[in-house]
Subunit: 475 residues, 2 copies
């Protein structure tokens, strides 16, 4: 293994005029060999039998960070699987502080027979690195090592222009069950001016973009109980409340005819996208037919006045995730069900607060409940706050400049419809989030044949290299 | 067993002036002993292990019918459990022909510990005959034997004034799976001018009543399918059709705000009750609070403009018997379900035809289905036509006169919200149905401590005795 390790050129020996891209191109093969070594470790956090592999993955990354020059590298234990933390202070104590976030655990690989190459024996085919974790997320973590070395090489620095902290967790694919506790416990050491999330994607290989918003989430079970027994629909049907019908009528009032969520107060805190963002969204090359095909749908649907992308990115939603009542088996059972139940979830956008939306939904449900039945809502967890990075955020502008230099074209913005640990980073660290992610729409994360073009990883590294300078220059 | 058999006084030996009630009173003890013997046979049609007992019950009844004087008595085999048929022609070939319907099978007896006496060791407690089948339906079949003998004794006839046919099935408590085929096969022999159903109840012991209508039934499963996979509600929520929400919206349109079924054409053939029936219904002593308690409900509900009894008796309904979609387990699963399903049933009243209602519901569902989803309705069986006996039906008037003589008071009318084999009798035999039934609201059919006052059985026998004369006099 050691033979495949990256041997980074020492900063002192490179020509300070050497530019970032030249450094990257000349070190890409060795860097890629190291990444492939990492990808051979089956660090599936969802399989208890592979917990040792996740730990081995953490140790591999810790070693690689040390070899890249990070003076502080630590494996952070959790009640589950370990995270890796590293820190490289800028020489200038007043330099901005950035925290790079990623994860080193991966998804399962089944069904194995659908892979064209073994998932844990990564190969490059037609310029794409193919293997579990190539895109999600080891490749995107590794690109920061190459980028940081390129930054040092190109600028002749012995330490980065900004203080770089790195936090790479080991349970993201299992829902990050211990991540928020880790953030809270290490909050002081993780203190930063910006979080650079590298676990997302580009709009297209030739359309660089960053994410500027993620939707939040609250979810609940709604129980509507009319009585303690099912009734015979012959004897009682027509003269008693049917809670199945009543719940359907309630759910029918979740939206109005135009697809607006009709829960009073639901939109009170929603920040609508500005003209600039709407224009950038409209500028994205977009194929509605392809989007619908990806959605296994034949027609668009949703809130009037918004495009499909806006509906999933900048608009909050109320969705029925499931329901059940009465007879659900074969044939007929002529009953009036005693009760009916639904699973509801609400996607939130800035600046909706989970508490506020829960209160609005509670009020709606109790007002909508029929006489003769009791309604109860049971909320799941704390909910997830939405994330949004205003376009004017300086760190975002720095990232856009860095990426524009790497791609040679303007950078657009996207959002994502859901969110993961990013909301925890935002809430605990109270820093803006920017997203330097380079997977592509066909990167097949979580699926067989996960892949990413090597060139995207290199452009990501190049962007990272420029970013430390841009961030410092702006400060 | 033979020792407990009824030894009917021969007609020739009785005083022709002896009235019906005197005959009944003087023969009641022996008749009751015979009935108790029959009740000791555990003829549960739902338990395959007791099939031999159902057969023994049929043989017991056949013997009793022969001993009562029926010249023709046959056990009719079915692919399941046997029915018993008997026939006693009137001397007058032009006399009306009546078919008495009942059943000799019974419900299970669990939970046994809730019986105050063994279910198959019938006893009389406080004037009530207690035991499985006492009310439903052996007691009500047996009362016809006593009634017919009383009719003969009181009138001095050697044959009844009307031709009396008797058909007592053995699978009613199992849904009469072979009954309609038996009716069709024996249609010619069963030909009659009126069917006397003895398997229902009185409004109250001191408020004699007959049933004049039963609701029919059609039922289906409605499937609304939007796509072949569940979608992630973060990635797609807000921009695709949610079939769970869409089905809820469809179900919400089954009724309008006043509780009317909003399926176009649904009410087209409904015969509304006349003033006379509405007045008779209103005259029934009725306790809404008690009705609601029996319905485990706190408030009445249903179609505006109709009373609770009318809602379950004379109005058709649309009920959601169950539904399911997406996630129905613990916790949250943030999906847009691929499809949603509901079980629907519609109670029908005269003169709604199952085919017509099915067509109306199909048209409603296809019109209500959203773009981007397919709706499919799968109907269960042939459906059940509603039954209704107009108040002016001569046989009904004859029955009311007979019962009024037995009770010494006017007879009112009721309906029932559901129906069983009665619709088959109506449809195959094409004869009006009248209902001479004497169970009481607290007879606990199908439950522990099934019972019926002996006096109700004797008044039923008395009514039957008068009925043959009334029917013949009217012809």
């Amino acid at each position: 293994m050691e033979g495949r390790r990256q041997h980074w050129p020492s900063v002192g020996r490179v020509d300070e005029a050497q530019d970032v891209r030249t450094f990257i191109d000349s070190n890409a093969d060795q860097w890629l060999a190291g990444l492939q070594e990492w990808l051979r470790i089956p660090s599936q956090s969802g399989d208890p039998a592979l917990a040792g592999e996740v730990r081995r993955s953490a140790e591999w990354l810790a070693t690689a960070l040390r070899e890249a020059g990070f003076p502080t590298v630590e494996v952070w234990e959790t009640p589950g699987l370990p995270a890796v933390y590293a820190e490289w202070p800028a020489d200038d104590a007043g330099a901005p502080v950035a925290l790079v976030y990623g994860h080193h655990d991966v998804q399962p690989v089944e069904p194995l027979e659908q892979w064209t190459a073994p998932p844990y024996d990564p190969v490059v085919v037609d310029g794409r690195l193919l293997g579990r974790g190539a895109a999600d997320d080891k490749g995107q973590v590794a690109m920061h090592l190459l980028g940081l070395r390129a930054h040092l090489a190109a600028t002749g620095r012995s330490a980065p222009a900004a203080t770089v902290k790195v936090l790479v967790e080991g349970e993201e694919e299992s829902g990050s069950p211990h991540f928020v506790d880790l953030l809270r416990a290490q909050r002081e050491r993780l203190r930063c001016d910006v979080v650079v999330v590298s676990d997302t994607g580009l709009w297209r290989a030739d359309v660089p973009s960053t994410v500027i918003g993620l939707r939040g989430l609250v979810s609940c079970q709604l129980d509507l109980v009319a009585r303690d027994v099912d009734l015979h629909s012959g004897s009682f049907g027509g003269a008693v409340l049917n809670p199945a019908t009543a719940l359907a009528r309630m759910l029918a009032t979740l939206h109005d005819e135009s697809g607006h969520v009709a829960v009073p107060g639901f939109y009170d805190s929603v920040l609508e996208p500005g003209e600039e963002e709407r224009a950038m969204t409209a500028a994205l090359p977009y194929d509605e037919a392809q989007w619908l095909a990806d959605a296994h749908s034949t027609v668009p649907a949703g809130e009037a006045g918004w495009s499909t992308l806006e509906r999933v990115w900048v608009r909050p939603t109320a969705e029925v995730n499931g329901y059940w009542a009465g007879h659900t088996g074969a044939g007929t059972k002529t009953i009036i069900p005693r009760e009916a139940h639904a699973k509801l979830s609400f996607r939130l956008v800035a600046a909706q607060e989970p508490d506020q939306v829960r209160a609005a939904v509670e009020a709606w449900a109790h007002a909508a409940a029929p006489a003769g039945a009791t309604v109860t809502l049971t909320w799941e967890g704390d909910g997830v706050r939405p994330c949004a990075t205003p376009l004017g955020t300086p760190a975002l502008q720095a990232l856009h400049r860095a990426m524009a230099r790497a791609w040679g074209t303007d950078v657009l913005v996207t959002r994502e419809g859901g969110s993961g640990p990013e909301a925890d980073l935002q809430d605990v660290l109270e820093a803006p989030l920017v997203y330097l992610g380079v997977s592509l729409p066909d990167s097949r994360e979580h699926a067989p044949n996960e892949n990413v073009p090597v060139e995207m990883l290199l452009k990501g590294a190049e962007s990272a290299a420029y970013f430390w300078s841009e961030l410092a220059a702006q400060a």
